[in-house]
């Protein structure tokens, strides 16, 4: 069905050929998600709940991060059958996760018709040295980052969207806050540097000079930047929005809570009205049990996901 590719895709006018999969087209996709909430879902039923709550996109994965933590084992791309069921159940964009470096999972996801691929540290790594060369794909990728250097390395590889890594599946927002503050703080430091200091900054960030220079000039990443990893409440979403991110991902926080539909809708409103405490107070009332959560500081080193794929 999705392989029926018309030669012009119907965009053509007066002989001008449409160009698909350009950097502009890949970077513009996440721009339309800004100010919104992207929710982790494992089946079509959850996807529908997310859409009805006002999600701007859903992320398909086989188990939410809290379950990946609890169950252990190798975490992979979802079954394509499940992904297709999710695509067919909603009108909003569908993203799906591939393992870091697993470019064949990414090829499969692109062929299935997902709108965006998350090359994710939440899944087990497939390549401990290399990420996917994301320039080779027609659809955009989102990648996690803990700091500016990581973000710029992913962008150099072709990522069209960045998210904080946070510490997924914990319900503890502390790492997402740390990563957001780190990225924005390092951007501010770059802006205060003289131009001759930017070369050494690029060396220290282990990032390409051209990207470092661009960030120093513009004061922002060249792609959309969301928060992810451990967000569980409307207040968590608003906190990250006030820190300066463009939107939020919520994973286990919704479908591991007592009333997913209500909590999802509340987080959507909190993301729009992140600067309005009266609205935040109203939407935070009576949401039922939040996900139980585990403090990041209680996790053993080997349980931490954020250090994967730096």
């Amino acid at each position: 069905m999705m392989n029926k590719t018309p030669s012009t895709n119907g965009h053509s006018t007066n002989g001008a050929e449409p160009k698909r999969g350009t950097l502009l087209v890949k970077r513009a996709f996440p721009q339309m998600l800004k100010g919104g909430v992207i929710m982790d879902v494992v089946n079509a039923e959850q996807a529908k709940i997310a859409e009805d709550a006002g999600a701007c996109a859903v992320m398909a994965l086989e188990r939410v991060p809290a379950d990946i933590r609890a169950d252990g084992g190798v975490a992979r791309m979802s079954d394509p059958e499940l992904i297709l069921q999710i695509i067919n159940s909603v009108s909003i964009p569908v993203m799906a996760k591939a393992r870091i470096g697993h470019f064949v999972e990414a090829q499969i996801l692109q062929a299935l018709g997902v709108d965006c691929i998350d090359e994710s540290e939440v899944l087990t790594m497939a390549d401990e040295e290399n990420h996917i060369d994301k320039h080779k794909f027609e659809i955009p990728f989102v990648c996690g980052a803990r700091n500016l250097g990581e973000a710029l390395r992913r962008i150099a590889e072709g990522a069209a969207m960045i998210r904080t890594k946070g510490e997924a599946g914990t319900g503890d927002v502390v790492e997402a806050v740390r990563h957001a503050r780190s990225i924005f703080g390092e951007i501010r430091r770059l802006q205060s540097m003289s131009t001759d200091e930017r070369y050494t900054a690029a060396k220290n960030l282990q990032a390409p000079y051209d990207l470092v220079n661009e960030v120093a000039e513009t004061g922002k990443l060249p792609v959309v930047n969301f928060a992810a990893g451990g967000l569980a409440t409307p207040a968590d979403a608003a906190l990250l929005m006030q820190l300066g991110v463009d939107g939020v991902f919520v994973g286990s926080g919704i479908f591991k809570s007592g009333d997913p539909a209500k909590r999802a809708a509340a987080i959507v409103k909190a993301t729009t009205y992140y600067n309005d405490p009266a609205v935040l107070a109203e939407v935070s009332r009576g949401l039922g049990e939040p996900m139980v959560g585990r403090t990041v500081s209680s996790l053993a080193e080997m349980e931490l996901l954020a250090g994967r794929g730096i």
Binding site: H11, L24, D52, S91, C116
Partner: protein, 198 residues
């Protein structure tokens, strides 16, 4: 009401790429206002409905904080307020959305098909011939774009591709299914600002 030459343009800021519109408008010398509540609409000279997800925005609009924004926009549009919808915004403006009962402003006599080109893989940039903007093609960026499959008698078609209409105007209402706010060409924004009467 702003003084002549310094229009106050509201941008619906519930979700989507409203910031891109605001930056473009400010580069053209317009004053801007984020619109998140019905009360924010008082005093604006024009309104932009940005790109984003139409179902998400319709759900946010039905919440307590945003309540009544669509009703107020509809009433102001009927009274002649210039309103421009890009991509999602054109869906919110349309009277008819194929196969959907989702919430909408429903002012413009157009029929829109959501996500007409397929998933993101089929999103594209395409130069568009739009005579109202001059001879130089406009860089059309289509992101999971809708298309206008039918337009009413009073609607002027300003741009087309094979599958349908991509830009149309009905008096004070303007719809584009592509995203002029993400390219370095301000002609559609300039065209819209010229629709403001003082």
């Amino acid at each position: 009401m702003a003084s002549k030459g310094k229009a106050l343009v509201g941008v619906l800021s519930l979700q989507g790429d409203f910031r891109e519109h605001i930056e473009k408008l400010e580069s053209l010398g317009a004053q801007t206002l984020d619109v998140r509540r019905a009360s924010d609409l008082a005093g604006i000279d024009a309104l932009i409905l940005p790109g984003g997800e139409s179902t998400a925005v319709a759900i946010i609009e039905s919440s307590h904080a945003a309540h009544g924004i669509f009703d107020e926009i509809r009433s102001m549009g009927e009274s002649g307020l210039p309103i421009w919808g890009t991509c999602m915004g054109s869906i919110l403006l349309a009277k008819n959305i194929e196969g959907s009962k989702q919430g909408r402003i429903g002012l413009m006599d157009i029929t829109v098909r959501r996500n007409a080109f397929g998933p993101q893989r089929f999103s594209a940039e395409t130069p568009l011939q739009i005579p109202a903007l001059g001879a130089l093609p406009f860089p059309g960026v289509f992101i999971r774009a809708p298309i206008l499959t039918a337009v009413g008698e009073g609607v002027e078609v300003l741009g087309r591709v094979e599958q349908g209409t991509v830009m149309a105007r009905e008096k004070n209402l303007l719809a584009t299914v592509f995203h002029p706010e993400v390219v370095d060409d301000a002609r559609v924004h300039e065209y819209f600002l010229s629709m403001i009467q003082f």
